[in-house]
């Protein structure tokens, strides 16, 4: 169980880090939509629309880090099987 929790924490941190890097390493808040600008050729006005797109930010990294820390911390509550066996 101890090992499983540690592995799970590592997987969460790595997955979040890779997702964050792959989606452009957004160093701001998480966005669920992005601005798309289109130029109106007659008036010269740039129209703005929003298209759904998940762009994880620093809060996403923080949340993933937090969950991983809780899992890794929880692993300390469990005894190491090998150590117990050795003591006996």
């Amino acid at each position: 169980m101890k090992k499983l929790l540690k592995i799970l924490a590592l997987v969460i941190v790595l997955s979040a880090g890779i997702t964050w890097l792959v989606t452009g390493a957004n160093r701001a808040w998480t966005k669920t939509s992005v601005e798309v600008k289109t130029l109106d050729p007659v008036t010269g006005i740039e129209g703005i629309t929003y298209q759904p797109k998940f762009l994880p930010g620093v809060d996403f990294l923080g949340a993933a880090g937090g969950i991983a820390a809780v899992l890794a911390g929880s692993s300390l509550l469990f005894r190491d099987k090998n150590k117990t066996t050795n003591k006996q």
Binding site: V42, I45, G47, T49, L55
Partner: protein
């Protein structure tokens, strides 16, 4: 009535018709009109836009200084890319869209009017209403009159277009938006950029 009386009368009527101000409707069928807002914040500035724009402006290309009108922004149409920020923005602690569904600017007078070709620049003074508070402000404005160009934008329609651009700043505290609160998290000054086009179809 003799012909030499009718001709000058016709000329006068025609001149009067041309000199009459046109009423431009800013409800854009192409949904391009927008107002952009920006507030500085520690991690990143809060950038968003609104496209629920309506209103009318009376503009006379022969006398742009006499321009009057009112532009309305639907508060609900204000959008930011972060869902939590949007929820807070629309919520009762900030803009309270349920209670204050509109942001408006009603032009009262124009000063420093300069026209070059089809472009007029001026300083417009009017009443800006936000969050239930009305305040007189003056902002620079640029009008671009596009005579006969409505058909290029909206097929099967004839008429003129008027493009209005303006950039100005307001303080959120002047409009009782979280007055004295969150100054370290969200700037007091809000930068606004307006780019809108209105249509005056010919009957």
């Amino acid at each position: 009535m003799k012909l030499n009386h009718i001709i000058p009368l016709l000329c006068l009527t025609t001149a009067a018709a041309y000199a009459a101000p046109e009423t431009f409707d800013f409800k854009d069928p192409k949904n391009v009109n927008n107002a952009v807002f920006k507030l500085d914040a520690p991690l990143e500035s809060v950038n968003g836009s609104a496209n629920g724009i309506s209103g009318t402006v009376s503009f006379d290309p022969e006398n742009p200084g006499a321009t009057t009108g009112k532009i309305v922004i639907a508060t609900e149409s204000m959008t930011v890319p972060n869902p939590m920020q949007k929820e807070h923005l629309h919520g009762p602690n900030w803009l309270d869209v349920a209670k204050y569904p509109e942001i408006s600017f009603e032009a009262k007078s124009l000063a420093n009017v300069k026209t070059t070709g089809n472009v007029t620049t001026a300083d417009v003074t009017g009443t800006f209403t936000l969050h239930g508070v009305s305040k007189d402000i003056t902002a620079p404005v640029k009008f671009t009159y596009l005579k006969g160009r409505l058909g290029d934008r909206v097929p099967h329609m004839q008429g003129d277009l008027l493009v209005i651009r303006s950039e100005f700043s307001i303080d959120r505290e002047d409009f009782n938006i979280q007055k004295g609160n969150f100054e370290d998290k969200v700037a007091n000054e809000i930068d606004l950029t307006l780019a809108i086009a209105g249509a005056a179809p010919t009957p």
